[in-house]
Amino acid sequence: MSIMVKVEEKLYQNRYIVDESRPHIQIKSEEACQSCEKQACTFCCPAACYSKNETGGVTLVTDGCLECGTCRVVCQDKGNIAWDYPRGGYGISYKFG
């Protein structure tokens, strides 16, 4: 019964100050993702920043990141995510919060 949801349409309403080519979150090892059975980041991230790719790994695009930290928590067993805050002033800028 779930309705198809385009998360991009939700994110489109948000204000971001993008730090070009300086992603604040990085996947450490592609192989670790390929061997990860669950790839929970791909369905836990509320901004759908993580997607399964054709090599069996995971592709990360941080532009829509809401800086919640969920991916870091779900990946803590593997420890395959290097999670940092964006530089001061960059990233999501909530108008209402």
Partner: protein
């Protein structure tokens, strides 16, 4: 030369604001660092603000604090697939001169806090991310390093109010990563709508507000809750579940939110509203047992970063404000007594917390997180059974009431067994006793 302050507060959320304001008001040289573009840019709250803790810090906050509506009615709804069973409490007594609860828009409140802090001489600097704590050879925290050029700043004491991620404490080895069953992920939207429609749909006057707390089928059996709050010209709707459940279930958070918005009892309330922002935030849910080390040589941790959240009563920001104030008062008292900010002296902060509602309430509900996490029936089977029972009971169909009672009882027993029902009752009592 490296600049030195009496205290550095990291973060401009409720706990950091309370700490900074309290310190500045007493004339201490305090620096508050915030990574967002402006105060509130990184903050997310449902949100309901309780006045009592704010009044302790700023007694006349009502003069200019940009709250939304004061709450006169509280609804608690248990949702079935196309129904709800609920309780409401509404009272004219909530229309007092000094209301106890307000709906708020977080960013507005944090900007207001920024003005209050400036008024009492506190220094708040935004667009500055603290990258690490600076420690002397003995391990004592003596300042912070930021991402600004030459961004090293020293202080006698550092108060970490950096929110649920608490990266600084984790990086410094002062705190472990949160277990997925100890944090929830909540997503929410703000929906703008004609205030007249809000007032009609919720049966309220201007400035009056209604909040609805929601459990049931919308969390798809996961441990979680949802909410719908009335602001002045907008509605806030959100849903959150434990990350350990999102990790197992296959429903992404944004789809869960969309299903909530389309639920037959919710949809008419938000119809025609325009979505203006989508936010996500983690909420500390582990309770008493998940509270980390709270102080050490030269540092304290407050608010969400200290895992202070009473999930059972939907209280977070007041624990944040109270803990921020207590940390600041500890600094003020130690300084007045000419004592250093050693771990043994800062234990006074922990004592204040223990003697207050913060630790007392967390302790009261210490079993709740584990019991909820381990007993999904409270979020799946029971909402089903209770709404089905209500449907049966309120359908008039010439079946005698005794037979209806039997049908309902049989259905519960079939789902949970007699011992299961008894066990669940005991668990619920244990969870909240």
């Amino acid at each position: 030369m490296v600049e030195k302050f009496d205290a550095i507060v990291i973060g401009a959320g409720p706990s950091g604001n309370a700490a900074t304001y309290t310190l500045a008001k007493q004339g201490l040289k305090v620096l508050q660092l915030e990574r967002g573009e402006y105060p509130g840019a990184k903050n997310v709250q449902g949100g309901i603000m309780y006045s009592h803790e704010l009044e302790k810090i700023i007694p006349d906050f009502r003069d200019d604090c940009p709250t939304e509506r004061h709450i006169i009615e509280q609804r608690v709804w248990l949702l079935g697939d196309d129904s709800y069973v609920g309780t409401n409490y509404r009272s004219e007594a909530f229309n007092s001169d000094k209301p106890n609860r307000y709906t708020i828009i977080r960013a507005n409140i944090d900007k207001w806090w920024g003005e209050q802090i400036r008024k009492v001489g506190g220094l708040q600097i935004c667009e500055t991310t603290v990258t690490e704590l600076i420690r002397d050879p003995s391990g004592k925290v003596i300042g912070v390093r930021t991402d600004r050029e030459g961004g090293e700043i020293h202080a006698d004491v550092v108060i970490m109010a950096d929110g649920v991620n608490a990266l600084l404490a984790k990086r410094a080895g002062l705190q472990a990563e949160a277990a997925p069953e100890n944090v929830a992920l909540a997503v929410k939207e703000i929906l703008f709508i004609d205030p007249e429609l809000i007032q009609q749909r919720f049966g309220i006057k201007e400035d009056e507000g209604v909040v609805i707390e929601i459990m049931g089928k919308v969390t798809k059996g996961m441990v979680g809750t949802a909410f719908l709050y009335t602001n002045k010209e907008s509605l806030t709707i959100g849903i959150g579940c434990l990350i350990s459940d999102f990790k197992n279930g296959d429903c992404p958070p944004y789809r869960m939110l969309e299903d909530l918005k389309n639920h037959p009892v919710i949809k008419p309330l938000i119809e025609g509203a325009e979505m203006k922002e989508y936010a996500a935030h983690m909420i500390p849910e582990g309770g008493y047992k998940a509270v980390p080390q709270l102080y050490g040589d030269g540092w304290m941790v407050v608010g969400d970063a200290a895992h202070f959240n009473n999930a059972a009563h939907r209280e977070g920001s007041n624990l944040a404000m109270a803990s921020g104030r207590m940390a600041a008062e500890t600094v003020i008292e130690l300084k007045a007594a000419g004592k250093g900010f050693t771990a043994s002296n800062l234990a006074a902060y922990k004592k204040k917390l223990d003697d207050s509602f913060i630790m007392k309430d967390l302790k009261k509900y210490r079993e709740l997180p584990g019991i909820m996490h381990g007993n999904k029936q409270f979020f799946g089977a029971y909402p089903d059974e209770i709404t089905a029972a209500a449907h049966n009971w309120f359908t008039v169909d010439s079946i005698d009431k005794k037979s209806k009672e039997k049908q309902i009882m049989k259905s519960f027993i079939k789902r949970r067994s007699v011992m299961g029902l008894v066990g669940d009752a005991i668990k619920l009592v244990r969870a909240v006793r």
